[in-house]
């Protein structure tokens, strides 16, 4: 149990530290570095506590449930491989922490840096120890994201931003691919548990989805480990602070890819596809990286490409997939991490102390900084694979595998050659690094005078170089056992112990090593001059750079193409959108009806009535006329709309719907007045627009006409089909049967509205109130177009009569109508439940009564006499209706349960008293408020405009006086 908790502690420690660090103040440099170092050290301590278990070949497990139903649990699993890797990560992390303490400048926020670094470490460690492939992907993506932040730590520079973004995009893409791959793996294996999957290799390789699975998996691994053709993000990531590079590109980030390859080689590997894809990519990367590295002038660039090249080597080994190959891969992972970290740190020291990383400027640094130079030379020698250094050993194992292992393909045959070429080039660039930077004449034009760095900045490098030497000389004593444990945990417990030795006798691998050393030296000797003078890249190759291809692709794919596509696929204009909407509706209706629409066999027809037909002739003509005139003769269109409306209303009445006719008429009046009010603010359109006569406009109109006709035909035929169908039993029947007994009213429509479906009405008044508020709010900020501010032409004519004159007689009658309309409103209101009418009709009537006063006189006249507070009305109305509805609760009934009963009043007799009436009062008040609010809000604009005119004139007059 203690182990279990320790394990969890190990997983959480970096994240927890990261969070603590985030809260530290900017200046807490010492505290933050101590904290970070302690955290790393603590992790290491835990790991060492696990060592005996691991050595015994046991697998440690811990488990926290997260989303078990998706098979995603925080399962932790540590075997030898993971242990080794985690130790590597944490130890190099510790060194990087120490190093960064001295490397990072005064202006950099160290706590933030360490927080990111630790979060990254945690994520990396998460990949290593997660026992669930999905959780592994989670951590995988987290590393992508954290590395993005780390690379972009110095985001003031464009290079850092671009580098960070590239790294994020490439690795996150890989991560997503990996996710799918893992999902497939889990699907194939029947579990997402790593252990289960590792055991299900057979099943997975035989699965029908093996191909895509492999492709996606490799996509993930290759992008992370910067394999060709996804290698280019890595050099870009060099814009990061050097400690970050030292960490990310030696032990962590890029190694995650190869970790995955090695881990899953037994599961997915062993097939030809695997071999070709992985070893092929590895070989190409190995050589390509080395070639480019040779030509880089930037110190970190050289190291970056060398990293790529070495990763290619490890990948190639993973592709081979044999037991020894895996062991070699693991060994090289460690070795590379050690020497590359030291080299990056050394490069950082050089950069830090001289102010440049350009190898063309750096020269003869051995003299000012001999100590550092020695360390760097040893590390570089390890990179080159010089005997007695750790790099030599693993490289030789690679050579041995390349020579010994066979599966009979051409790639297999070519493997040794790739190995030699790669190694020679690696010798060459290592040599170049040593020779140019430390030897030769001492550079004089460096930005800073070079000298040795602070001692603690060098300590990590010293330690690492020491490890290089120790491992190189006593491999079996140092790393041997644990590498074997790790390899066994990957390749199977039955793997025999492989003894790593410095001396195997004179054999092919040794010869190859020597050849590589020789050829490498030769290459450097021959090309040293041309390289330092030449462009940053080998002949021709520097022109086709992955980065540039990537940039081009990214730009095309994520910016130009989508924009282009959007321009074609979408539109900002309203008309096409409405057209699409109509067309879609037509299309889906046609899709549903095509070939299936049938009319009832015996049509249920009523004999046509000539009067009705005649009036619809008018109605139809009005509709078409309105459509025709709406552009140039808005007023005429409005009148014609009125015509169509009144015929519609007649239709309602004709087919037994007095309530509808009534409401439609009232609304019609209000709408017409509203539209008229709006008409005042529209631009005058007297002359025809010339463009309208052109062909495109005509084509547009014709097209819309076709759409309109199809739409009209469609809806007409559906309506016809429905109307002529036999009657079905429906809800209406029940309402008719029960309205009186259950609802207590004879007007079924009204009973439905205020009782059966009162909730609809409840919502409807809310809509009215909302719209009223919106209109009011919108008009508060209304600003008329400049030409509309002027009073209309009619008022500015030379002999235009005044309004009072015009309305002298009519206004008298209109004022008379006020009380009459109030009575009529009352009439409609009280009739509602039994006969046509109701709260809505009454409300609109009352609103119109007010409106008539406004029309008959003017705003100031009316408002100096009556104060309508429409918003108050609305609020009270809404509250009354909701209170009525809630009243039912008091009696234990649901909301809006109506109670109707007859109350006996002396002399008067039975008087119906229904709560529905109260509800209707609410409706009434809301409607009055909303309609008045809308009308008056628009009407006030004229007043405001005229007031504004007056103010302007007054201002002008004042100016004149002055």
């Amino acid at each position: 149990m203690a182990e279990h908790n320790l394990f969890l502690l190990l997983a959480c420690l970096p994240f927890a530290t990261s969070l603590i660090l985030l809260t530290l103040p900017q200046g807490a440099r010492g505290a933050s570095s101590w904290l970070s170092a302690l955290s790393m050290a603590g992790g290491l301590a835990v790991l060492f506590a696990f060592l005996p278990e691991i050595q015994a070949g046991n697998v440690l497990r811990a488990r926290l449930e997260w989303v078990p139903s998706l098979g995603m649990n925080m399962a932790l699993r540590m075997d030898g491989f993971a242990w080794l890797f985690a130790t590597l990560v944490l130890s190099i992390g510790l060194l990087v922490v120490i190093y960064a303490r001295y490397y990072m400048g005064r202006n950099d926020s160290l706590p933030r840096f360490y927080a990111l670094l630790l979060a990254f470490t945690g994520a990396m460690q998460g990949i290593l120890i997660s026992g669930n492939v999905l959780v592994m992907v989670v951590f995988w993506e987290l590393t992508s994201f954290m590395s993005f932040l780390l690379i972009g730590f110095w985001h003031q520079g464009a290079a850092a931003r671009d580098g960070a973004r590239t790294a994020l995009i490439i690795t996150a893409l890989g991560g997503l691919c990996l996710l799918v791959a893992m999902l497939m793996l889990g699907h194939a294996a029947g579990s997402y548990d790593l252990g289960m999957i590792l055991r299900a290799g057979e099943k997975i390789r035989a699965h029908s989805l093996y191909g895509p699975m492999l492709a996606l998996f490799l996509m993930g691994a290759f992008t992370k480990s910067a394999q060709f053709p996804f290698h280019f993000w890595l050099p870009g990531a060099m814009a990061a602070p050097t400690p970050v590079s030292a960490f990310l590109h030696s032990a962590t980030m890029v190694k995650a890819g190869v970790f995955l390859l090695v881990r899953f080689a037994p599961v997915l590997g062993g097939t030809e596809a695997w071999f070709f894809a992985v070893t092929g990519a590895g070989c190409v990367t190995l050589v390509l990286g080395a070639v480019v590295a040779l030509y880089r002038h930037d110190l970190k660039g050289l190291l970056a490409y060398s990293t790529i090249s070495h990763l290619g080597l490890i990948t190639a080994l993973a592709g081979i997939g044999g037991r020894v190959a895996l062991l070699a891969a693991i060994f090289h992972i460690c070795n590379h991490a050690v020497f590359k970290a030291s080299l990056f740190m050394a490069a950082g020291i050089i950069d830090h102390e001289t102010g440049t990383r350009d190898m063309r400027r750096l020269s003869g640094l051995f003299r000012p900084m001999p100590y550092t130079a020695t360390l760097a030379i040893v590390a570089a020698a390890a990179m080159a694979g010089v005997p007695l250094l750790n790099g030599f050993l693993s490289k030789e194992m690679f050579f041995a595998e390349a020579v010994d292992w066979h599966n009979g393909t051409w790639l297999d045959d070519a493997l040794p050659y790739f190995a030699i070429v790669g190694s020679s080039l690696s010798v060459a660039y290592s040599l170049r690094f040593i020779a140019t930077v430390f030897f030769g004449p001492q550079a004089t034009d460096l930005p800073k005078p070079p000298h040795e760095p602070p001692a603690w900045m060098r300590r990590p490098v010293e330690l690492l170089v020491l490890i290089c030497l120790l491992v190189g000389i006593f491999p079996a004593l140092t790393l041997g056992p644990i590498i074997n444990t790790a390899a066994r945990s990957v390749a199977g417990a039955d793997m025999p112990y492989y003894k790593i030795a410095v001396w195997h006798g004179v054999n092919a691998p040794l010869m190859m090593s020597l050849a590589a050393l020789g050829v490498g030296t030769l290459i450097y000797a021959l090309s040293a001059k041309s390289i330092s003078d030449g462009p940053e890249g080998p002949f021709l190759l520097h022109r086709i750079r992955g980065q540039r291809v990537y940039d081009w692709l990214l730009f095309r794919l994520t910016w130009r193409l989508p924009r282009l596509a959007l321009r074609w696929l979408s539109t900002e204009a309203l008309q096409p959108q409405l057209r699409l909407l109509v067309l879609t509706a037509i299309a889906v209706a046609c899709g549903a009806l095509w070939g299936a629409l049938s009319f009832a066999s015996d049509l249920r027809l009523h004999a046509p009535n000539p009067g009705f037909g005649l009036l619809w002739l008018v109605g139809a003509a009005c509709a078409i006329g309105a459509a025709w005139q709406a552009k140039y003769h808005r007023f005429a269109a409005l009148v014609l709309l009125g015509g169509a409306g009144v015929v519609t209303c007649l239709t309602f009445a004709w087919f037994s719907s007095p309530d509808l006719a009534l409401t439609q008429l009232l609304v019609e009046v209000a709408t017409t007045v509203l539209l008229l009010l709006g008409l005042r603010w529209l631009p005058k359109r007297r002359s025809e627009i010339a463009e309208d006569k052109l062909l495109p406009a005509k084509v547009r109109r014709a097209r819309d006409l076709v759409i309109a006709v199809i739409g009209g035909l469609g809806i007409a035929s559906i309506a016809f089909a429905m109307m002529t169908r036999p009657l079905i039993s429906n809800l209406g029947d029940w309402f008719l049967g029960n309205a009186y007994y259950e609802g207590g009213g004879t007007n079924v429509v009204n009973v439905i509205l205020v009782d059966f479906r009162a909730f609809d009405t409840f919502g409807e008044i809310a809509v009215l109130a909302i719209v009223g508020l919106t209109v009011y709010a919108l008009l508060r900020r209304f600003r008329p177009a400049p030409e509309s501010v002027e009073a209309p032409d009619q008022q500015t004519l030379a002999d235009s009569p005044s309004l009072d004159d015009y309305l002298y007689v009519p206004s008298v009658v209109m004022v008379w109508m006020f009380p009459v309309l109030i009575m009529v409103a009352g009439y409609f209101f009280f009739r509602g439940h039994d006969l046509p009418g109701g709260g809505f009709a009454a409300g609109v009537t009352l609103a119109i009564a007010f409106l008539v006063q406004y029309i008959g006189t003017n705003v100031r006249w009316v408002e100096s006499r009556i104060t309508v507070l429409p918003i108050r009305w609305m609020g009270i109305g809404l509250l009354v209706s909701v209170a009525t509805g809630m009243g039912a609760w008091l009696f234990g009934y649901p909301f809006l349960t109506a109670h109707a009963r007859y109350v006996h009043i002396p002399l008067v007799g039975e008087v119906p008293a229904a709560t529905a009436l109260l509800f209707d009062i609410g409706v009434f008040a809301t409607v009055v408020g909303a309609v008045v609010l809308m009308l008056v809000a628009i009407a006030h604009q004229s007043l405001r405009a005229s007031r504004r005119r007056e103010m302007d004139e007054a201002a002008a007059a004042r100016k004149e006086v002055a």
Binding site: A653, P658, V859
Partner: protein, 93 residues
């Protein structure tokens, strides 16, 4: 007998009123001036109101009365607003 008389009379009235509405409708469409259209709309309203009454009589129900009342009382509001717009260029000032 009375039913026949009334049926004929009311049927005639219905057609006559519809026709009247139709004629108003032609004026509504033809114009030529805005005031003609407004006047025509008013006439159409009146015809339809009368049609409501006649239909109500035909069916023997008083349910169309409200609609007719609304036309009688409110119909003028539309026309007045339209006329005022013609005269002043705005309805409420």
């Amino acid at each position: 007998m009375s039913a026949t008389i009334l049926t004929i009379a009311l049927g005639y009235a219905q057609v006559a009123l519809a026709l009247a509405g139709c004629l108003a409708g032609t004026r509504l469409l033809r114009g030529p001036r805005a005031q003609d259209r407004v006047l025509a709309l008013d006439a159409l309203y009146v015809s339809i109101m009368l049609l409501f009454l006649v239909t109500g009589m035909q069916l023997g129900t008083a349910f169309f009365f409200e609609a007719a009342t609304v036309i009688a009382i409110m119909g003028f509001v539309t026309s007045v607003a339209l006329a005022k717009f013609l005269f002043r260029g705005e309805v409420i000032e």
